[in-house]
Symmetry: C2
Subunit: 184 residues, 2 copies
């Protein structure tokens, strides 16, 4: 996805709350946001330098009570403006949901392929594990209506991730069932 540079807006969005280091930002991709975007730390540090050069963020390097030098990045007025423009922009087209597993299935034309059940089963295990993990997070983070109220966007995307994985699990289970007794 060249050109659109969503990482820019994600980083701006994440430091809006409070200034953060590259490492802080990297860690954010380990939880909810990681369900909908991924990036390597090398790319984050590169992008932060660029954003600073372009005046979207400012940096503050020093030893903040610690022994280790850190660089905190904060959003500027320009950065806020661009973030807002993105947040409220309308998409005209739906992006593609790339999925390697589904593509593999597409090329297994034969319903009676003996390796098909184990491929489905392995994917099911991974998806179920992920689903459990996400449900655990919802319980942890959103146990009261006030929690939901305070972080509504966050709640919505976690809820969406859970539904998405539930759908995946249901689909796989039905596919596995539909093969039972059909093993040629």
């Amino acid at each position: 996805m060249a050109q659109k540079n969503l990482l820019k807006y994600i980083l701006l969005g994440l430091i809006t709350e409070k200034p953060k280091t590259g490492y802080d930002l990297k860690k954010e991709f380990d939880t909810e946001i990681g369900e909908f975007w991924s990036v390597k730390h090398s790319q984050i540090y590169l992008e932060l330098k660029r954003l600073e050069k372009e005046g979207e963020i400012t940096s503050d390097t020093g030893f903040f009570g610690n022994k280790v030098e850190k660089t905190y990045y904060a959003i500027t007025a320009l950065g806020k403006k661009h973030l807002d423009e993105w947040k409220y922009s309308y998409d005209t087209a739906l992006a593609v949901n790339k999925d390697e597993f589904v593509l593999k299935l597409y090329f297994i034309k034969d319903r009676h392929d003996e390796r098909l059940p184990s491929l489905l089963k392995e994917q099911l295990d991974m998806r179920q594990e992920k689903l459990s993990h996400l449900e655990g997070r919802r319980t942890l983070l959103f146990s009261t209506p006030q929690d939901i109220e305070k972080q509504y966007g966050h709640y919505l995307i976690l809820d969406h991730a859970i539904r998405r994985e539930s759908e995946y699990v249901t689909w796989l289970k039905e596919a596995i069932d539909s093969l039972k007794g059909n093993e040629k």
Copy 2:
């Protein structure tokens, strides 16, 4: 997604059935396969040249009864071997489902944001349209059990795409409903 080069396997998979031109391959991304991978024609032609150089495919250029010169690509034994290895390989990790719309929501912290309903509504319209289109294709392509039997992998991924979009639609509808009467 550098390095993994899924396009290679998709192209190999698509020409396994019969030899195809770059243009034929490009068109395949307009239907089901486009739900799970996208690519520009420039990339396809580049990849085809590379695959030929690496002995995965062979090419045949000429005027096949037409006035226009075309190049047909066919898979080699080596290509078949690599395609098979990929088809039956197990994934160890789940790839990230990148989704710009969901990320936007994440950064709209305020449930009472007046621009939130229209953003949700616009997305809902697009997703509903897509869902209708996919359901139309299922009706068209898989009206009988024999159709499903003949192209089982194809059926599975179309079914999955439909369920995925249904989930998206349900999620958006519920989110919109949950905002009703809450407009601060």
